[in-house]
């Protein structure tokens, strides 16, 4: 009985197919996409647009001060030369963090891809990546336990060499870089590992059969083949690092003044939103320029 109804349905479908697909495809597609993109518009795109407008205002539009539109905040680097030094500090910190992450991360990825197999490799990979998905703030905070005077580091050093003074370097730029490397190393390992894991073992064997020693294989084969992963890892490290503010604050103390902390101050302390907005957009321009430069590599790196 029931099968008959279905067959009748199918037969009716043939006479009037439109009844069977009441929703045109584009309506369904739009309905599926609208909530997500509506949300992103409200939460990300409109805010960026608003901030762009704010960056041209003469003062924060609160209170009675008349607002005029001006370019003066974009001239801040000329008007306030100390900003140049701060920007330079940010770039230096970004450079060293990225370099250290690249060296140690690439080697770790090579070790992971070539020296481990199976379940051991899976476990190590999860362990290496796990810290990346824990709270960055807490991880930075944990370094203060290690680096402070009479902290863990001092304790270990004094156990081995009792006569030496404190080796604490909390509240220095080294501490900032150390904390940032700790934060972004897992990511670099991941991008390099993804690139390396696609390399066919036969390529390594072919190189070895041609007489290449391990350092030749490392530098002439693995490094170039992992370059896309290395570059996307470097970009995705450098970009957040030059925008960081809580790492310099917590680990750098008084020396931890960077673009990030200056921007934060404009919004939370100095209340000069237009200046903060202009500095943010200057930073965003740098970020976008970096993404544009490496967009080809990044696209390959993420789809591989």
């Amino acid at each position: 009985m029931r099968s008959d109804t279905i067959l009748n349905d199918a037969a009716r479908g043939s006479s009037d197919p439109r009844q069977r697909r009441p929703i045109p495809a584009w309506v369904a597609t739009t309905a599926l996409l609208l909530p997500t993109y509506g949300w992103l518009t409200l939460a990300v795109l409109l805010p960026l647009l608003t901030m762009f407008v704010f960056s041209f205002m003469s003062a924060t539009p609160m209170g009675k001060t008349p607002i005029v539109f001006t370019l003066k905040h974009y001239r801040a680097f000329i008007d306030q030369p100390y900003l140049i030094n701060i920007a330079w500090t940010s770039l230096v910190i970004g450079f060293w963090t990225t370099l250290l992450c690249a060296v140690f991360g690439f080697l770790a990825a090579v070790a992971l891809a070539r020296a481990t197999v199976g379940r051991m490799r899976e476990t190590l990979l999860v362990l290496l990546l796990l810290p990346f998905w824990t709270n960055g703030l807490v991880r930075v905070f944990s370094w203060t336990m290690v680096l402070r005077e009479n902290g863990f580091l001092d304790g270990v050093v004094h156990m081995l060499l009792p006569d030496i003074g404190s080796v604490s370097f909390l509240y220095t730029r080294y501490a900032i870089v150390l904390g940032l490397v700790h934060g972004y190393l897992p990511y670099m390992i991941l991008t390099c590992y993804i690139a390396l894991s696609t390399i066919d073992d036969a390529i390594i064997e072919a190189a070895a059969s041609l007489g290449a020693r391990w350092w030749t294989i490392l530098l002439r084969i693995l490094l170039p083949l992992a370059a896309p992963g290395l570059i996307s890892g470097a970009v995705l490290t450098f970009v957040p690092v030059i925008g960081s503010f809580m790492e310099p604050r917590i680990l750098g103390g008084k020396v931890g003044v960077t673009m990030g902390t200056v921007i934060e101050d404009q919004f939370t302390q100095a209340f000069n939103w237009p200046l903060g907005a202009a500095l943010s957009f200057t930073l965003l321009a740098v970020v976008l320029a970096i993404f544009a430069t490496f967009s080809g590599v990044l696209r390959r790196g993420t789809t591989a």
Binding site: L32, T36, P47, L49, W133, P240
Partner: protein, 259 residues
């Protein structure tokens, strides 16, 4: 060579986990000034139980993370269906638009939200935090669910249709059950993203309504006690658990069903 590689990996793990373990250990140390020698004590966890401010912030964090996970997973999965299974014009542009929340430094996104929410009258507080957290989590959901879609062959739905399924029935009978682990993984991922989010929360929190990371930050800057270590330990264990369960569900290494 092989041995050297493994020793190097252990050294990296040592570097990654030492500060975290030290921080956790200090939560169980008697001394308020983190002084050694280590004397085991649970007094900071007891003190934490009385710290209403931290507990409330912790509760806020969990509530926000749960709501974020639910909303972001629903919206992101819908978008992922369209992006993975349908063809339409402007698709690559839409995929590109998923990147800003991930790629632009959160400092910029966060301050921009602050400016816009202030200017538009949305204001700050719980609803503002939710708007921000969901926006940050959606791209991850789309990516995770999209990866799940890639492991499901499109011809399974075609096979179902050839057997008499309408596209909607084929989706619910075939694709959705196969996609379920990815969706669950995406929800856990969104939960972890929200739970760990500090920068955005920092700009959108109010004195009366903040999340745990915001409270921890202000505590660190004001001078802190091992209570912070105690709550931080709980926070880390929470997000690690979420990510490990995620890894179990999404099986990032499992591509055996791939075409």
């Amino acid at each position: 060579m092989r041995q050297l590689g493994r020793i190097y990996l252990l050294a990296i793990l040592f570097f990654l986990y030492t500060p975290i373990l030290v921080m956790m250990a200090m939560g169980f140390n008697e001394s308020q000034l983190y002084e050694l020698p280590f004397r085991f004590s649970t007094r900071w966890y007891v003190a934490l139980m009385d710290n209403q401010q931290l507990l409330k912030a912790g509760m806020n964090s969990i509530i926000i993370a749960v709501i974020t996970a639910v909303i972001a997973t629903c919206l992101g999965t819908m978008a992922s269906i369209a992006l993975s299974r349908r063809t339409f014009r402007g698709k690559s542009l839409l995929q590109l638009l998923l990147l800003p929340p991930i790629a632009i430094p959160w400092l910029i996104t966060g301050t921009a939200m602050l400016v816009f929410f202030y200017w538009s009258g949305i204001g700050r507080g719980m609803h503002a935090l939710l708007i921000g957290h969901v926006a940050l989590a959606i791209p991850y959901v789309v990516l995770v669910v999209g990866t799940g879609f890639n492991t499901i062959r499109a011809d399974l739905e075609e096979a179902a249709m050839s057997l008499g399924s309408t596209p909607i029935h084929a989706f619910f009978a075939v694709t959705l059950p196969l996609l379920f682990p990815s969706i669950l993984g995406a929800a856990l991922f969104a939960f972890a993203v929200s739970l760990d989010q500090f920068v955005i929360s920092y700009f959108l929190a109010t004195p009366g309504y903040s999340t745990l990371p915001v409270q921890i930050y202000s505590a660190i800057r004001k001078g802190f006690t091992p209570e912070i270590n105690a709550i931080s330990t709980l926070l880390l264990l929470g997000s690690m658990a979420a990510i490990l369960i995620f890894a179990r569900f999404a099986k990032p290494g499992d591509v055996s069903d791939k075409r």
